[in-house]
């Protein structure tokens, strides 16, 4: 695992409208690490994730990451309005937009990349279908494919197995693990499933804003009985 952190949070407070609900957050995420963010519904997991991504401004503190860090983001599927007739290939091409400037169009190599990742994730048969017509598991695969199509340094996932059946969820997680291993990508994943976080991550963040809890570190340190009981009690 890399020695220098790629993302550093120092004494960060997270919240909304300049009001912090969780303070004194200190975090150092290094390359090739798999971080699971665990907590109850409404506990602040997604807020923490989006603050790290810069989508929500931090209330206070210092947040930094290495220059030119490329994020691959897999948001919750419900983020997307069903009215849009976006095809799977068009969706995946959006993953390349981190490398394509405003006012410029995708090139041939971008289209070849998309073809490669469609094959790699076993969804090339879905290329022309609309995203909205896919099953839950297919949508997750398409979103993961989109995220890695941009060749990210860090893959960020928000509840990737929510609303997916057990078999589908296992498939999604194994896919993420394969990508992480093959492409040596750092992973940051929000989940409220302890088993998923326990099985796949090596580092864990446990968070509950209502109880003012923030714990982070190696999986073995954080996933202790007393901490889990404290959060999910």
């Amino acid at each position: 695992m890399g020695s220098e952190p790629i993302i550093v949070l120092e004494d960060v407070s997270i919240g909304y409208n300049h009001t912090g609900f969780l303070e004194s957050i200190n975090l150092r995420i290094k390359r090739d690490e798999f971080w699971g963010i665990l907590g109850p519904n409404g506990g602040g997991k997604t807020t923490l994730l989006k603050t790290i991504l810069g989508l929500i401004p931090k209330v206070s503190g210092s947040l930094s990451h290495t220059d030119n860090l490329v994020f691959g983001y897999v948001p919750q599927r419900e983020n997307f309005d069903r009215i849009y007739p976006i095809s799977v290939s068009e969706l995946m091409m959006m993953g390349r937009y981190s490398r394509i400037k405003v006012g410029r169009n995708p090139k041939k190599e971008d289209r070849e990349f998309i073809g490669y990742f469609l094959e790699k994730l076993g969804i090339s048969h879905l290329e022309k279908q609309t995203f909205r017509s896919l099953s839950g598991g297919e949508k997750q695969r398409a979103l993961i494919a989109r995220a890695i199509a941009g060749k990210p340094d860090i893959l960020v996932l928000d509840e990737p197995t929510a609303s997916v059946d057990l078999k589908g969820g296992t498939g999604v997680m194994e896919l993420i693990e394969n990508i992480r291993t093959e492409d040596k990508i750092t992973v940051l994943m929000v989940s409220h499933f302890i088993n998923t976080v326990s099985r796949f991550s090596d580092h864990v963040i446990a968070v509950d804003k209502d109880k003012g809890i923030f714990r982070s570190g190696l999986k073995e340190e954080v996933l202790r009985r007393e901490i889990i009981d404290e959060i999910f009690d």
């Binding site: 948001p75 009215i83 007739p85 405003v102 017509s133």
Partner: protein, 284 residues
């Protein structure tokens, strides 16, 4: 009722309005796709009222003795364009500054503009019929300069949208990821809404508020019934927009109907056709 041959022999009457109508149908149909997908249909309604308010305000200022010679220089078209563009800018930025929903802002703008148009219109010294035509357009006769202005503005807006097509779709469909990729969301949203505002302003002046609102809302909805391909939605929306305008003129001439309302009715008929097609497809 006129005959078809009378229609063609009278081309000098409808040539200019039909050119303006067809171009308006095309560009409104194109931009209407964003309006429908982003669920901001009533933004266009608010913008048509604000456009009318700009015209009314210009004529009111022209009529004020205190304005003197300056009053003669106030151009209703320019005032309408400026006001509509400012309103579009406001809609684009309001989320950053006001803690109320987009729908609330649109409703507020629509009501205040509609009310102000009536109040100011009541104070204007020109004839009532002229005011109605000027405010709402007649669609039958267009200002000669509109034959050049409307296509020119439509072309400029279309070129801008061609260049930034992928960007506008991206920020509309997934603004979060666009923000993560450092796309300038605020700037792109502003350009998008101002381009809609400008087109609404010039086409409302030429055709009228009702047909413009119809051409923005209905062709895209109709196109969505026929295809699941995004680019084809844009193309079909343009086609339905043009057909609604051209056939609207044709039938209004043949059957002696109000032109603006006929255009809106044709757009509605195409919409119903699309609805039937969707129904048949789901059964088969």
């Amino acid at each position: 009722m006129a005959s078809i041959s009378e229609f063609f022999t009278s081309y000098f009457l409808w040539r200019d309005p039909m050119i303006v109508g067809a171009v308006s149908g095309a560009i409104c149909g194109f931009l209407g796709v964003y309006v429908v997908l982003r669920r901001i249909i009533f933004v266009s309604a608010a913008l048509t009222q604000i456009s009318s308010l700009g015209v009314a305000l210009a004529f009111y200022l022209q009529g004020l003795a205190i304005m003197g010679l300056i009053g003669a220089l106030i151009d209703p078209f320019s005032i309408s364009l400026i006001l509509t563009s400012l309103a579009a800018l406001f809609f684009a930025l309001n989320r950053d500054f006001f803690p109320i929903s987009q729908e609330g802002v649109i409703g507020f703008a629509f009501i205040i503009a509609s009310g102000a148009v009536v109040i100011i219109g009541d104070r204007i010294t020109k004839g009532a019929h002229d005011i109605a035509d000027i405010l709402f357009g007649s669609a039958v006769v267009v200002d000669p300069k509109d034959v050049y202005i409307v296509p020119l503005i439509a072309l400029i807006v279309f070129i801008i949208h061609l260049v930034f097509f992928k960007d506008f779709i991206f920020i509309s469909f997934d603004p979060e990821t666009a923000s993560l990729f450092k796309y300038p969301l605020r700037i792109l949203n502003t350009i998008l809404l101002i381009s809609i505002g400008i087109v609404v302003s010039v086409t409302t002046r030429a055709l009228g508020a009702l047909p413009v609102f119809g051409l923005i809302a209905l062709p895209p909805l109709t196109a969505l019934f026929f295809t699941e391909n995004l680019k084809l939605v844009f193309i079909l929306s343009v086609v339905f927009g043009v057909l609604s305008a051209v056939l609207g003129y044709f039938f209004s001439f043949i059957i002696s109907l109000p032109t603006g309302a006929t255009i809106a009715t044709l757009a509605t008929l195409f919409f119903l056709l699309g609805l039937c097609w969707r129904g048949v497809k789901s059964i088969v």
